[in-house]
């Protein structure tokens, strides 16, 4: 029997193709005869479209077609749907304004798609797009969520004249207010959770193709969930038969949420391919990506924590205005509600929590899930409050957390979630050690001697992953199931192809999932291939987001393997002339209990496909099983991060000197890959805290629309990380796994900002804490 593969640092199977330039991303795909699309986008944040003249563009060299909203309306192409219905405080459904694929009479953000030009070459399409004449009547715009509901604010949509999508609440307000009235101490913070632009390094791309031979469509698209993309596009927008559409999401260069959604461009190239009987390709350039990929975060929040005199949390009260942008993106509505307010208990026993969320439309790019999606915002609320309360009550920040940790599981929070397991003290203790917190004072003194300030900050985060039990999600408004599917196809020679509905765009599923399968089937990992990202190969899938792949997709694969093994036992019993109940299975060996008689996995596979000696009266030949898995609960990864910063008093420059992260992801399949996920998440979280500022001017122009203006963290902006894990296995999936993709981005912002405010001795500071922001704060303090 081979060495165990679960828990091993196996080098990635996918790396060779990426390292040799053999990866196949959407823009690398070339369909014979393809034409090129270029979208004409609104230069105004809010404008009526009086008329569009495409005549000059149509006469431009190489142009095949120009389409506008009128063409799509005439063809009865629908708008983009929203996948989650939120019901407001009055029991009314949220406002769902139409989200047309090409603007219908009005543009609502800079970058809104107004027309599309299709030409023989990309250059010709771009040249012609400049010749499309759009007569705009520019309207006043609103970009600040805090001002969207103000009297006289320009209204974006006729069905929501107050720019309000919904006002939603969770918790018992009266009881919470009562607890606050009696509290010995109240800590209050007002802050903005800054708007971010995801910026996967591969820009989005889509190629639509149509085959007259069988009236079928193929869409290649940089997307995280091809089956969901197909379902939404066929059933809700184009009205096409689902089985006639194949969606392929080949190698995808990062997603971080921004490639979950059905975008207008995907619909338009698919539709245009049929009109023109010619494949149509669109590749976003980075400038387009900045204005057209869904953004993340953008909350304006007032948060309060009520405590008794010993620092015990009594209640929490949170009011948030969430910016949804100009239209509802695919999952926009559930991010600042279901994925936010439900996480406000954090790791603590706070008995009463009330959260009210007002979601507004503004003349900005639509906002949706970005790595963490609601959970970073919740963690920021909880962990900034807790740290601030500790300082105000002069209690050590680790100690105040210990006094409030949840210790008994399962634990029902006051905000609808039931944590199955956890050990928060273990990750806190380990993080204090890993971050050498006991040596901080000495380092601080050394910094002071060097004329620098030094601060330390903690964040003890929790997240709900493994999204999601379908029935629970459905009761909360989800318009889709959230299970996952997997298929194990055993070949006659014993090698295995695994089909998964999860999608890998950097996470390394081709390795991690293969480890799970090879380990259980007792075969070399080289004999296992993972196939994903193609609706014509994979039976079904809900895709990858919310750190769900291993917990939900991995479990579907395990369930399919269970069926393979169950059938294998029957075949083995026949071959070994034993009773099925006497067959024991262990990693590739089917053994008659208590004897040395056995059949190996490969022999069983061969027997299934060359069934000469086979129990035909009881079994079908072949060895191919699939499974759908719907989780019974979320998973709850948690951990503690300790950040130590040094601040240059003269310049305001912040340097992260140390960052220690201890996470509890349950069972870990491949520690190397998990560490990589943590490093990446931490850097995105540090980006939010230190460098990434998305700025619109008052007229709605995005002034941070390139990598020259929007500061993605570079190698010099982040330290080498110290990471470690503790393990309390998830209790409700067979692998005991919880998921690890988002943790870093969830915990890091609060840890960094707690450290900076500690260094500066101020209560709060806006993110990102750029040198200018910090310098200003220092000047204010000095004055």
């Amino acid at each position: 029997m081979s060495a165990p593969l679960i828990g091993a640092r196996i080098q990635r199977k996918e790396d060779y193709r990426f390292l040799t330039g053999a990866g196949q991303y959407t823009d690398d795909v070339s369909v014979p005869g393809q034409a090129y699309a270029c979208f004409v986008r609104s230069p105004h944040a809010h404008a009526n479209i009086r008329s569009i003249s495409a005549e000059k563009a149509k006469r431009s060299p190489g142009v095949i077609a120009v389409y506008t909203g009128a063409d799509l309306a005439a063809a009865k192409v629908g708008g983009l749907p929203c996948g989650w219905l939120i019901t407001d405080v009055n029991g009314q459904p949220m406002k769902e304004p139409p989200h047309p694929c090409l603007a219908q009479g009005k543009a609502r953000y800079v970058g809104d798609h107004v027309a599309v030009v299709v030409a023989a070459t990309l250059e010709q399409a771009k040249d012609a797009a400049e010749k499309v004449e759009v007569d705009y009547e520019v309207l006043p715009a609103v970009v600040d969520p805090a001002k969207a509901r103000a009297k006289g604010a320009p209204a974006l949509h006729d069905i929501a004249l107050d720019n309000t999508c919904y006002v939603w609440a969770l918790g018992d307000k009266a009881k919470v207010d009562e607890a606050f009235a009696k509290a010995a101490h109240v800590t209050r913070l007002d802050f903005v959770n800054n708007r971010l632009i995801p910026n996967a390094i591969e820009p989005r791309a889509a190629i639509g193709a149509y085959s007259r031979a069988d009236e079928s469509y193929t869409l290649y698209v940089a997307n995280q969930n091809p089956h969901v993309e197909r379902l939404l596009m066929t059933a809700f927008v184009l009205g096409l038969p689902e089985h006639k559409v194949r969606v392929v999401a080949p190698d995808v260069g990062g997603g971080f949420g921004s490639k979950i959604y059905l975008y207008a461009e995907d619909v338009v190239v698919t539709w245009a391919a049929r009109q023109l009987n010619r494949p149509v390709k669109w590749t976003s350039d980075r400038s387009e990506a900045f204005v057209s990929d869904a953004h993340g975060r953008d909350h304006v929040t007032t948060a309060e924590l009520a405590l008794d005199k010993d620092g015990k949390f009594l209640a929490m009260r949170v009011q948030t205005t969430a910016n949804l942008g100009a239209y509802l993106s695919t999952f926009a509505s559930c991010i600042p509600t279901i994925l936010y307010a439900t996480l406000l208990a954090g790791q603590y026993t706070t008995p009463l929590i009330y959260c009210e969320v007002t979601a507004v439309f503004t003349n900005t790019t639509p906002v949706d899930a970005y790595r963490g999606a609601g959970r970073p915002e919740a963690t920021y609320v909880v962990e900034r409050l807790v740290e601030t309360a500790a300082r105000e009550l002069k209690i050590d920040p680790a100690e105040i957390r210990r006094r409030n940790f949840i210790r008994n599981f399962p634990y029902q929070t006051p905000v609808a979630l039931q944590y199955d397991t956890g050990n928060y003290e273990a990750t806190l203790d380990a993080a204090l050690k890993l971050g050498d917190v006991s040596g901080f004072q000495a380092r601080k003194e050394q910094s002071l001697k060097n004329g620098k300030l030094r601060g330390i900050g903690y964040a003890a985060y929790i997240e709900a992953c493994g999204i999601a039990p379908s029935a629970v999600a459905g009761s909360l408004g989800a318009r889709a199931g959230l299970f996952e599917a997997g298929e194990i196809r055993v070949h006659p020679t014993g090698s295995v192809t695994v089909f998964t509905g999860s999608h890998s765009h950097g996470q390394g599923h081709e390795t991690t999932f293969a480890q799970v399968v090879a380990d259980r089937l007792g075969i070399p990992i080289e004999n296992v291939d993972i196939v994903h990202g193609d609706t014509s190969k994979v039976l079904f899938g809900m895709g990858t987001y919310g750190s769900r792949s291993i917990a939900v997709g991995g479990t579907a694969i395990v369930k399919a393997m269970d069926k393979i093994i169950a059938k294998g036992k029957k075949i083995a019993a026949h071959l070994l002339e034993a009773s099925e109940s006497d067959i024991e299975y262990d990693r590739g060996e089917f053994k008659v209990a208590g004897t040395d008689r056995k059949k190996m996995f490969g022999e069983i596979a061969f027997a299934a496909y060359v069934p000469h000696n086979y129990p035909h009266d009881k079994l079908e030949p072949g060895l191919n099983e699939n499974a759908f898995y719907d989780p019974s609960n979320f998973t709850f990864p948690a951990g503690t991060y300790v950040c130590e910063v040094e601040v240059d008093r003269d310049t305001g420059q912040v340097t992260i000197e140390r960052f220690a992260a201890v996470d509890d992801f349950g069972k870990i399949i491949n520690p190397m890959i998990v560490e990589g996920q943590v490093h990446g998440g931490l850097t995105q979280g540090i980006g939010q805290a230190l460098t990434e500022a998305c700025r619109y001017d008052a007229s709605g122009q995005l002034v941070t629309g390139s990598f020259m203006d929007y500061c993605l963290p570079r190698a010099g902006d982040v330290p080498s990380f110290k990471v470690d894990t503790r393990e309390t296995p998830c209790t409700h999936n067979p692998l005991g796994v919880k998921g690890c993709g988002e943790a870093g981005a969830i915990g890091a912002p609060a840890a960094v900002m707690n450290a900076i405010t500690d260094a500066l001795g101020v209560k709060d500071l806006p993110m990102p804490a750029t040198a200018q922001t910090v310098w200003r704060s220092l000047q204010q303090k000095a004055a």
Binding site: Q11, R12, E14, D15, Y16, R17, F18, L19, T20, G21, A22, G23, Q24, Y25, D27, D28, S30, E123, N199, A200, I201, E202, P203, D251, V252, G253, G254, F256, D285, R286, S287, H505, G506, Q507, G508, M672, I673, E675, G676, H679, G680, G681, L682, T683, Q684, S706, F707, M708, L712, P713, R714, A715, G716, V718, S720, F721, G744
Partner: protein, 159 residues
């Protein structure tokens, strides 16, 4: 206006007639179909398009193809040995998990090769400075830095 260009790419002579405004990266990707060189931005900031021109790392989105007339170009497809064995720098990225989605990776490797040719034993700080022109959104750079340090050591100052 179209122009005739010829150069050597990965050791092979190539020539074509292209529009004068064709970028080197477009020529490499679209004309030669060497799609390992990627385009991640339009402001020469991300470094995904990095190739070697006459032995030096350049961003192939920043010059037009005709500026490479007669040049010797090396792309990611030409880095491994003809038998498929990975170059020590590629191997170091694999062993140290220096890549996730793989999109920035060819640019990272091409930049690292140039850097390591003159830095056989670089420090963490030197490596991070060398990555000033390359963006990665997945790895947090931690393992890229580790990979380049290991790769540089294995190369011993020679590409």
């Amino acid at each position: 206006m179209s122009v005739k260009i010829s150069m050597k790419v990965n050791g092979k002579p190539v020539s074509a007639e292209v529009e004068a405004r064709t970028l080197l990266v477009t020529f490499i990707r679209e004309n030669l179909r060497l799609t390992g060189t990627h385009v991640g931005c339009d402001t020469a900031q991300c470094g995904a398009c990095t190739v070697h021109m006459n032995g030096k790392a350049i961003k192939s989105c920043s010059i037009v193809a005709m500026q490479a007339e007669g040049a010797d170009i090396l792309t990611i497809e030409g880095v491994a040995k003809p038998d498929g064995t990975l170059h020590p720098m590629q191997q170091a990225f694999k062993e140290n998990h220096g890549l996730q989605c793989g999109f920035c990776t060819p640019g990272m490797v091409m930049n690292a090769l140039d850097f390591a040719a003159s830095h056989a034993n670089p420090t963490d700080k030197e490596v991070r400075e060398s990555l000033e022109g390359n963006l990665c959104r997945c790895t947090g750079y931690h393992n890229i830095v580790k990979s380049i340090m290991a790769g540089a050591k294995a190369m011993g100052g020679k590409i």
